[in-house]
Symmetry: C2
Subunit: 167 residues, 2 copies
DNA sequence: GTCATATACTTGCATATTGCAATTAATTGC
DNA sequence: GCAATTAATTGCAATATGCAAGTATATGAC
Protein backbone atom coordinates (compact mmCIF):
# COMPACT_ATOMS: atom_id res chain seq x y z
CA UNK A 1 0.00 0.00 0.00
CA UNK A 2 1.44 3.37 -0.92
CA UNK A 3 1.67 6.27 1.45
CA UNK A 4 0.47 9.81 0.76
CA UNK A 5 2.54 10.98 -2.16
CA UNK A 6 5.00 13.75 -1.54
CA UNK A 7 6.12 16.01 -4.34
CA UNK A 8 9.40 15.24 -6.07
CA UNK A 9 12.34 17.34 -4.87
CA UNK A 10 12.36 19.76 -7.84
CA UNK A 11 8.60 20.26 -7.92
CA UNK A 12 7.24 23.74 -7.53
CA UNK A 13 6.56 24.46 -3.88
CA UNK A 14 4.23 27.41 -3.49
CA UNK A 15 5.83 28.73 -0.31
CA UNK A 16 9.27 28.75 -1.92
CA UNK A 17 8.20 30.05 -5.31
CA UNK A 18 9.51 33.57 -5.83
CA UNK A 19 6.36 35.17 -7.32
CA UNK A 20 4.21 33.78 -4.52
CA UNK A 21 6.60 35.08 -1.88
CA UNK A 22 6.50 38.56 -3.39
CA UNK A 23 2.73 38.38 -3.55
CA UNK A 24 2.44 37.38 0.09
CA UNK A 25 4.58 40.24 1.32
CA UNK A 26 2.67 42.73 -0.82
CA UNK A 27 -0.70 41.36 0.29
CA UNK A 28 0.14 41.37 4.00
CA UNK A 29 1.26 44.95 3.85
CA UNK A 30 -1.67 46.12 1.78
CA UNK A 31 -4.25 44.73 4.20
CA UNK A 32 -3.86 47.03 7.21
CA UNK A 33 -3.37 50.10 5.02
CA UNK A 34 -6.45 49.23 2.99
CA UNK A 35 -8.48 48.77 6.14
CA UNK A 36 -7.30 52.17 7.30
CA UNK A 37 -8.19 54.21 4.25
CA UNK A 38 -11.34 52.17 3.73
CA UNK A 39 -12.71 52.86 7.22
CA UNK A 40 -11.34 56.35 7.62
CA UNK A 41 -12.11 57.79 4.19
CA UNK A 42 -14.26 55.23 2.39
CA UNK A 43 -11.70 54.77 -0.35
CA UNK A 44 -11.07 51.71 -2.48
CA UNK A 45 -7.60 50.54 -3.36
CA UNK A 46 -7.98 52.05 -6.82
CA UNK A 47 -9.05 55.40 -5.37
CA UNK A 48 -6.08 55.44 -3.00
CA UNK A 49 -3.67 54.81 -5.83
CA UNK A 50 -5.24 57.54 -7.94
CA UNK A 51 -5.08 59.91 -4.98
CA UNK A 52 -1.37 59.16 -4.65
CA UNK A 53 -0.85 59.93 -8.34
CA UNK A 54 -2.71 63.24 -8.33
CA UNK A 55 -1.01 64.22 -5.07
CA UNK A 56 2.23 64.02 -6.97
CA UNK A 57 1.00 65.32 -10.31
CA UNK A 58 -2.20 67.28 -9.96
CA UNK A 59 -4.08 67.88 -13.21
CA UNK A 60 -3.19 64.48 -14.67
CA UNK A 61 -5.53 63.00 -17.25
CA UNK A 62 -7.37 59.73 -16.70
CA UNK A 63 -5.11 57.87 -19.11
CA UNK A 64 -1.96 59.24 -17.48
CA UNK A 65 -3.31 58.09 -14.14
CA UNK A 66 -4.13 54.66 -15.48
CA UNK A 67 -0.66 54.37 -16.92
CA UNK A 68 0.95 55.47 -13.67
CA UNK A 69 -0.92 53.15 -11.38
CA UNK A 70 -1.71 50.16 -13.54
CA UNK A 71 -5.49 50.58 -13.72
CA UNK A 72 -7.74 50.17 -16.74
CA UNK A 73 -9.80 53.19 -17.92
CA UNK A 74 -12.98 51.89 -16.26
CA UNK A 75 -11.31 51.53 -12.90
CA UNK A 76 -9.75 54.96 -13.24
CA UNK A 77 -13.06 56.58 -14.09
CA UNK A 78 -14.77 54.94 -11.13
CA UNK A 79 -11.91 55.71 -8.79
CA UNK A 80 -11.96 59.37 -9.78
CA UNK A 81 -15.72 59.33 -9.27
CA UNK A 82 -15.22 58.07 -5.73
CA UNK A 83 -12.64 60.73 -4.98
CA UNK A 84 -14.85 63.49 -6.39
CA UNK A 85 -17.83 62.21 -4.39
CA UNK A 86 -15.82 62.50 -1.20
CA UNK A 87 -14.44 65.92 -2.07
CA UNK A 88 -10.87 64.71 -2.52
CA UNK A 89 -10.54 65.53 -6.21
CA UNK A 90 -12.02 67.76 -8.89
CA UNK A 91 -12.69 66.84 -12.48
CA UNK A 92 -12.08 69.39 -15.21
CA UNK A 93 -11.31 69.12 -18.90
CA UNK A 94 -7.87 69.86 -20.27
CA UNK A 95 -7.61 73.24 -21.96
CA UNK A 96 -5.66 72.07 -24.97
CA UNK A 97 -7.71 68.97 -25.83
CA UNK A 98 -11.05 68.85 -24.13
CA UNK A 99 -11.44 65.09 -24.51
CA UNK A 100 -8.86 64.70 -21.76
CA UNK A 101 -9.75 65.05 -18.15
CA UNK A 102 -7.66 67.14 -15.80
CA UNK A 103 -7.99 65.68 -12.34
CA UNK A 104 -6.76 67.82 -9.52
CA UNK A 105 -6.46 67.16 -5.83
CA UNK A 106 -8.37 69.30 -3.32
CA UNK A 107 -7.10 70.47 0.07
CA UNK A 108 -9.17 67.77 1.75
CA UNK A 109 -7.73 65.24 -0.68
CA UNK A 110 -4.23 66.31 0.16
CA UNK A 111 -4.95 66.09 3.87
CA UNK A 112 -6.25 62.54 3.41
CA UNK A 113 -3.29 61.63 1.27
CA UNK A 114 -0.85 62.96 3.86
CA UNK A 115 -2.55 60.93 6.56
CA UNK A 116 -2.44 57.70 4.56
CA UNK A 117 1.08 58.37 3.30
CA UNK A 118 2.36 58.80 6.83
CA UNK A 119 1.30 55.24 7.59
CA UNK A 120 2.80 54.14 4.30
CA UNK A 121 6.12 55.64 5.25
CA UNK A 122 6.11 53.79 8.58
CA UNK A 123 5.50 50.53 6.76
CA UNK A 124 8.33 51.13 4.33
CA UNK A 125 10.68 52.15 7.13
CA UNK A 126 9.82 48.97 9.07
CA UNK A 127 10.47 46.79 6.06
CA UNK A 128 13.78 48.45 5.32
CA UNK A 129 14.79 48.34 8.99
CA UNK A 130 14.37 44.58 8.98
CA UNK A 131 17.07 44.30 6.30
CA UNK A 132 20.83 44.46 6.67
CA UNK A 133 22.60 47.49 5.23
CA UNK A 134 24.00 45.30 2.45
CA UNK A 135 20.48 44.19 1.57
CA UNK A 136 19.19 47.75 1.69
CA UNK A 137 21.86 48.69 -0.79
CA UNK A 138 20.89 46.13 -3.39
CA UNK A 139 17.12 46.14 -3.04
CA UNK A 140 16.47 49.11 -5.29
CA UNK A 141 18.46 47.76 -8.21
CA UNK A 142 17.01 44.33 -7.72
CA UNK A 143 13.46 45.60 -7.82
CA UNK A 144 14.26 47.60 -10.92
CA UNK A 145 15.37 44.41 -12.65
CA UNK A 146 12.37 42.47 -11.43
CA UNK A 147 10.08 45.26 -12.64
CA UNK A 148 11.67 45.10 -16.07
CA UNK A 149 11.64 41.33 -16.30
CA UNK A 150 8.06 41.03 -15.06
CA UNK A 151 6.95 43.59 -17.65
CA UNK A 152 8.58 41.48 -20.35
CA UNK A 153 6.97 38.29 -19.05
CA UNK A 154 3.56 39.93 -18.94
CA UNK A 155 3.76 41.42 -22.41
CA UNK A 156 5.03 38.16 -23.92
CA UNK A 157 2.01 36.33 -22.51
CA UNK A 158 1.49 32.74 -21.46
CA UNK A 159 1.99 31.22 -24.90
CA UNK A 160 5.59 32.38 -24.86
CA UNK A 161 6.02 30.78 -21.45
CA UNK A 162 4.48 27.54 -22.61
CA UNK A 163 6.77 27.27 -25.60
CA UNK A 164 9.75 27.56 -23.33
CA UNK A 165 8.37 25.22 -20.67
CA UNK A 166 9.42 22.23 -22.76
CA UNK A 167 6.69 19.68 -22.36
CA UNK B 1 -0.51 82.44 -10.73
CA UNK B 2 0.78 79.24 -9.27
CA UNK B 3 1.82 76.27 -11.34
CA UNK B 4 0.62 72.71 -10.81
CA UNK B 5 1.84 71.74 -7.41
CA UNK B 6 4.56 69.14 -7.23
CA UNK B 7 4.93 66.95 -4.19
CA UNK B 8 7.55 67.89 -1.62
CA UNK B 9 10.78 65.90 -1.94
CA UNK B 10 10.12 63.50 0.95
CA UNK B 11 6.50 62.84 0.04
CA UNK B 12 5.46 59.31 -0.70
CA UNK B 13 5.78 58.59 -4.41
CA UNK B 14 3.77 55.55 -5.37
CA UNK B 15 6.19 54.32 -8.03
CA UNK B 16 9.09 54.45 -5.59
CA UNK B 17 7.23 53.07 -2.58
CA UNK B 18 8.55 49.62 -1.71
CA UNK B 19 5.21 47.88 -1.07
CA UNK B 20 3.78 49.18 -4.34
CA UNK B 21 6.83 48.02 -6.26
CA UNK B 22 6.51 44.52 -4.82
CA UNK B 23 2.83 44.52 -5.65
CA UNK B 24 3.44 45.54 -9.27
CA UNK B 25 5.98 42.78 -9.85
CA UNK B 26 3.70 40.18 -8.26
CA UNK B 27 0.68 41.39 -10.23
CA UNK B 28 2.45 41.44 -13.59
CA UNK B 29 3.69 37.91 -13.11
CA UNK B 30 0.37 36.60 -11.88
CA UNK B 31 -1.55 37.88 -14.89
CA UNK B 32 -0.28 35.60 -17.68
CA UNK B 33 -0.24 32.55 -15.43
CA UNK B 34 -3.77 33.29 -14.26
CA UNK B 35 -4.94 33.64 -17.85
CA UNK B 36 -3.34 30.31 -18.63
CA UNK B 37 -4.90 28.23 -15.87
CA UNK B 38 -8.16 30.12 -16.22
CA UNK B 39 -8.54 29.39 -19.93
CA UNK B 40 -6.96 25.96 -19.93
CA UNK B 41 -8.53 24.48 -16.79
CA UNK B 42 -11.19 26.93 -15.63
CA UNK B 43 -9.42 27.52 -12.34
CA UNK B 44 -9.50 30.61 -10.16
CA UNK B 45 -6.42 31.93 -8.42
CA UNK B 46 -7.61 30.40 -5.17
CA UNK B 47 -8.13 27.00 -6.81
CA UNK B 48 -4.65 27.09 -8.33
CA UNK B 49 -3.08 27.83 -4.97
CA UNK B 50 -5.02 25.04 -3.32
CA UNK B 51 -4.01 22.68 -6.10
CA UNK B 52 -0.36 23.58 -5.48
CA UNK B 53 -0.78 22.84 -1.78
CA UNK B 54 -2.43 19.46 -2.23
CA UNK B 55 0.09 18.55 -4.92
CA UNK B 56 2.71 18.88 -2.24
CA UNK B 57 0.72 17.55 0.67
CA UNK B 58 -2.19 15.46 -0.46
CA UNK B 59 -4.81 14.80 2.18
CA UNK B 60 -4.49 18.22 3.78
CA UNK B 61 -7.47 19.64 5.66
CA UNK B 62 -9.22 22.82 4.59
CA UNK B 63 -7.72 24.78 7.48
CA UNK B 64 -4.22 23.54 6.74
CA UNK B 65 -4.72 24.60 3.17
CA UNK B 66 -5.99 28.01 4.20
CA UNK B 67 -3.01 28.43 6.48
CA UNK B 68 -0.58 27.39 3.78
CA UNK B 69 -1.87 29.62 1.04
CA UNK B 70 -3.35 32.58 2.89
CA UNK B 71 -7.01 32.01 2.10
CA UNK B 72 -9.96 32.35 4.42
CA UNK B 73 -12.13 29.27 5.08
CA UNK B 74 -14.83 30.42 2.64
CA UNK B 75 -12.38 30.83 -0.19
CA UNK B 76 -10.83 27.46 0.59
CA UNK B 77 -14.17 25.73 0.62
CA UNK B 78 -15.13 27.29 -2.71
CA UNK B 79 -11.76 26.61 -4.25
CA UNK B 80 -11.92 22.96 -3.25
CA UNK B 81 -15.42 22.83 -4.69
CA UNK B 82 -14.08 24.11 -8.00
CA UNK B 83 -11.28 21.54 -8.02
CA UNK B 84 -13.66 18.70 -7.21
CA UNK B 85 -16.08 19.86 -9.90
CA UNK B 86 -13.30 19.64 -12.49
CA UNK B 87 -12.05 16.29 -11.23
CA UNK B 88 -8.77 17.67 -9.90
CA UNK B 89 -9.37 16.85 -6.24
CA UNK B 90 -11.40 14.58 -4.01
CA UNK B 91 -13.00 15.48 -0.72
CA UNK B 92 -13.01 12.98 2.11
CA UNK B 93 -13.24 13.32 5.88
CA UNK B 94 -10.22 12.71 8.07
CA UNK B 95 -10.23 9.37 9.83
CA UNK B 96 -9.13 10.65 13.22
CA UNK B 97 -11.42 13.68 13.49
CA UNK B 98 -14.25 13.64 11.04
CA UNK B 99 -14.87 17.37 11.26
CA UNK B 100 -11.72 17.84 9.19
CA UNK B 101 -11.69 17.42 5.47
CA UNK B 102 -8.96 15.39 3.77
CA UNK B 103 -8.48 16.84 0.33
CA UNK B 104 -6.46 14.74 -2.04
CA UNK B 105 -5.27 15.39 -5.54
CA UNK B 106 -6.36 13.17 -8.43
CA UNK B 107 -4.23 12.05 -11.35
CA UNK B 108 -5.90 14.65 -13.55
CA UNK B 109 -5.25 17.24 -10.86
CA UNK B 110 -1.59 16.32 -10.76
CA UNK B 111 -1.35 16.52 -14.53
CA UNK B 112 -2.88 20.00 -14.48
CA UNK B 113 -0.60 21.04 -11.65
CA UNK B 114 2.48 19.83 -13.51
CA UNK B 115 1.45 21.76 -16.57
CA UNK B 116 0.90 25.00 -14.65
CA UNK B 117 3.99 24.50 -12.52
CA UNK B 118 6.18 24.13 -15.58
CA UNK B 119 5.17 27.65 -16.64
CA UNK B 120 5.74 28.80 -13.07
CA UNK B 121 9.25 27.47 -13.13
CA UNK B 122 10.01 29.32 -16.36
CA UNK B 123 8.78 32.55 -14.79
CA UNK B 124 10.92 32.07 -11.72
CA UNK B 125 13.95 31.19 -13.79
CA UNK B 126 13.48 34.32 -15.92
CA UNK B 127 13.21 36.51 -12.86
CA UNK B 128 16.30 35.02 -11.27
CA UNK B 129 18.21 35.20 -14.54
CA UNK B 130 17.62 38.94 -14.67
CA UNK B 131 19.51 39.35 -11.39
CA UNK B 132 23.25 39.38 -10.77
CA UNK B 133 24.74 36.44 -8.90
CA UNK B 134 25.27 38.67 -5.88
CA UNK B 135 21.60 39.59 -5.94
CA UNK B 136 20.55 35.98 -6.35
CA UNK B 137 22.55 35.15 -3.26
CA UNK B 138 20.81 37.67 -1.03
CA UNK B 139 17.26 37.47 -2.34
CA UNK B 140 16.20 34.45 -0.32
CA UNK B 141 17.30 35.87 3.01
CA UNK B 142 15.84 39.22 2.13
CA UNK B 143 12.46 37.76 1.31
CA UNK B 144 12.53 35.79 4.52
CA UNK B 145 13.00 39.01 6.47
CA UNK B 146 10.32 40.82 4.50
CA UNK B 147 7.92 37.93 5.08
CA UNK B 148 8.57 38.13 8.82
CA UNK B 149 8.30 41.89 9.01
CA UNK B 150 5.15 42.03 6.88
CA UNK B 151 3.54 39.41 9.11
CA UNK B 152 4.31 41.59 12.14
CA UNK B 153 2.93 44.69 10.42
CA UNK B 154 -0.25 42.90 9.45
CA UNK B 155 -0.89 41.39 12.84
CA UNK B 156 -0.20 44.67 14.63
CA UNK B 157 -2.85 46.38 12.48
CA UNK B 158 -3.26 49.94 11.31
CA UNK B 159 -3.74 51.46 14.76
CA UNK B 160 -0.20 50.48 15.66
CA UNK B 161 1.02 52.12 12.48
CA UNK B 162 -0.92 55.27 13.17
CA UNK B 163 0.48 55.62 16.66
CA UNK B 164 3.97 55.53 15.25
CA UNK B 165 3.21 57.79 12.30
CA UNK B 166 3.53 60.85 14.53
CA UNK B 167 0.96 63.28 13.34
C1' DG C 1 -17.07 73.39 -44.35
C1' DT C 2 -18.72 68.60 -43.45
C1' DC C 3 -18.62 63.98 -42.86
C1' DA C 4 -16.28 59.69 -41.59
C1' DT C 5 -13.05 58.11 -38.28
C1' DA C 6 -10.48 58.09 -34.14
C1' DT C 7 -9.77 59.15 -29.29
C1' DA C 8 -10.84 59.99 -24.20
C1' DC C 9 -13.70 59.09 -21.01
C1' DT C 10 -18.15 57.60 -18.82
C1' DT C 11 -22.31 54.88 -17.97
C1' DG C 12 -25.35 50.95 -17.64
C1' DC C 13 -26.01 46.43 -17.05
C1' DA C 14 -25.08 41.57 -16.73
C1' DT C 15 -21.98 38.59 -14.44
C1' DA C 16 -18.63 37.19 -10.92
C1' DT C 17 -16.66 37.61 -6.59
C1' DT C 18 -16.77 38.49 -1.63
C1' DG C 19 -18.17 38.95 2.99
C1' DC C 20 -20.72 37.31 6.52
C1' DA C 21 -24.69 35.10 9.04
C1' DA C 22 -26.55 30.94 9.65
C1' DT C 23 -26.24 25.88 9.26
C1' DT C 24 -24.50 21.22 9.64
C1' DA C 25 -21.64 17.92 11.61
C1' DA C 26 -18.41 16.25 14.76
C1' DT C 27 -15.82 16.62 19.00
C1' DT C 28 -14.62 18.03 23.71
C1' DG C 29 -15.21 19.43 28.49
C1' DC C 30 -17.75 19.08 32.48
C1' DG D 1 -25.55 13.56 28.40
C1' DC D 2 -25.55 18.12 27.08
C1' DA D 3 -23.59 22.82 26.62
C1' DA D 4 -19.70 24.78 24.28
C1' DT D 5 -16.28 24.59 20.71
C1' DT D 6 -14.40 23.62 16.27
C1' DA D 7 -14.30 22.60 11.04
C1' DA D 8 -16.38 23.22 7.09
C1' DT D 9 -20.15 24.59 4.04
C1' DT D 10 -24.12 27.10 2.18
C1' DG D 11 -27.20 30.97 1.06
C1' DC D 12 -27.80 35.51 0.21
C1' DA D 13 -26.86 40.33 0.06
C1' DA D 14 -23.45 43.61 -1.12
C1' DT D 15 -19.64 44.70 -4.09
C1' DA D 16 -16.69 44.66 -7.75
C1' DT D 17 -15.58 43.72 -12.68
C1' DG D 18 -15.92 43.21 -17.60
C1' DC D 19 -17.56 44.96 -21.52
C1' DA D 20 -20.93 47.06 -24.88
C1' DA D 21 -22.72 51.22 -25.88
C1' DG D 22 -22.90 56.20 -25.34
C1' DT D 23 -21.21 61.11 -25.16
C1' DA D 24 -18.09 64.57 -26.30
C1' DT D 25 -14.25 66.19 -28.70
C1' DA D 26 -10.76 66.21 -32.15
C1' DT D 27 -8.57 65.03 -36.66
C1' DG D 28 -8.11 64.16 -41.50
C1' DA D 29 -10.03 63.54 -46.28
C1' DC D 30 -12.06 65.83 -49.77
Amino acid sequence: MERARTASPDALRLSAWLPYRLFIVAARIARPLETFYGERFGLSQAAWRILAIIAERTGASASEIGQACALDPFAVSRGIGQLVERGFARRATARSDRRFAAVSITARGRAAFDEIASLGRVIEADLLASLSSAEREVIDGMLRKLEGESARIESAGWRALQERAGR
